[in-house]
Symmetry: C2
Subunit: 187 residues, 2 copies
DNA sequence: GCTCACATGTAATCCGTTACATGATTCT
DNA sequence: AGAATCATGTAACGGATTACATGTGAGC
């Protein structure tokens, strides 16, 4: 059997957590895993078929009225595969693409005012992201209270702190650039 | 003229900062921008030709002994394009793919020991990354002292703090999971 | 003589996004 | 009647990685 991509494991994981079809997988991912691993419909539907072909999930027709719908569940093999991934060691995919920091790297080409403007818009972006996460938090907390599953809430709180990290960094830098010329460079 | 991808701006920026050819662009990127925007040779060389075709850079033969080498410089149009990008507003590309946090999201499927193992390996990965950045820091600091350009050093220090953020989060969570069963979920 | 750093490229492939396409049900 | 939500897919494209391919120069 071929190697699975990380996106496949998102699907397996979401099914294990109770999502039943492609639409539900996407809806849930959009308010949770998307902040550290985004997926889209055009990955999900073909992948569901591949996973079924590999015997890791099983789908059955589950029409809602006249609306076509396919309900998937993990097989034992799927459960096992998911567990293997969760406990696998060796390094995992870790990638950041941050155009804001990238611009900041080249910001010596800008004048003071432009530098501040860049920092400000970067901070604003992270503040928007934090607000979005904070809006989700109560729902996540409620789901934790029902299910006892703590990691979705923990990773959400981690995401909020993550945005806070960038917000703080921007704020501090903005202040430093505003203050009268400091002498040294680093922290 | 077609829209430029972010990678094109990395190249323009590196040329502005004094890199002269594809090899130098890559070498410098590998110890700086790579941590928030990775690039590879197979992007650089074709892109250099496209940028030359678009009149944003100019290349001339610059052989080193019998070794073929092409030296590029920014044109006025290239300088302008770079500046436009640095000051552009509207949201920029911001993407994180973190397989560790993703696994953590699904970690309710693991037992306590496996959860701790996951956190530990995640922390180790970020510690490796931090050490790598700390090794680069003196060089970056020296280059700041020579050139007066502060943002490369600032973004490097930011990268070090970034790794520190994840290390702290992991540590705190490890401690929490080790302590006798807490009652509540969130922060 | 060997290895490492310098230097430049192409081809195949993978992964992901965006746009396109369709249709039923529920809510207002 | 119309909009939003539920639900499933395909096609085209773009961006990036990996593997492949080649050759010089400098230092040991």
């Amino acid at each position: 059997m071929e190697e699975l991509g990380t996106t496949a494991y998102v699907i397996l994981g979401m099914l294990r957590r109770g999502a039943r079809n492609g639409y539900e997988i996407k809806s849930r991912a959009d308010v949770s895993t998307r902040f550290f691993w985004a997926i889209s419909y055009s990955q999900i539907y073909p992948e569901l078929k591949r996973l079924e072909g590999a015997g890791l999930i099983e789908g059955e027709a589950d029409p809602a009225g006249g609306r076509r719908r396919q309900a998937y569940t993990l097989t034992a093999a799927g459960e096992e595969t998911l567990h293997e991934w969760l406990t696998r060691d060796g390094d995992f995919h870790l990638e950041l693409r941050h155009e804001g920091v990238l611009r900041l790297f080249f910001a010596d080409a800008l004048d003071r005012e432009e530098q501040l403007e860049l920092l400000h818009s970067m901070r604003a972006e992270h503040e928007r992201a934090r607000i979005e996460l904070e809006r989700i938090e109560p729902t996540a907390r409620a789901r934790f209270d029902e299910s006892g599953d703590r990691f979705p809430l923990l990773t959400l709180d981690m995401g909020i702190a993550y945005q806070g990290f960038f917000i703080d960094v921007c704020e501090r830098l903005e202040r430093r650039l505003t203050e009268p010329q400091p002498i040294s460079g680093g922290t």
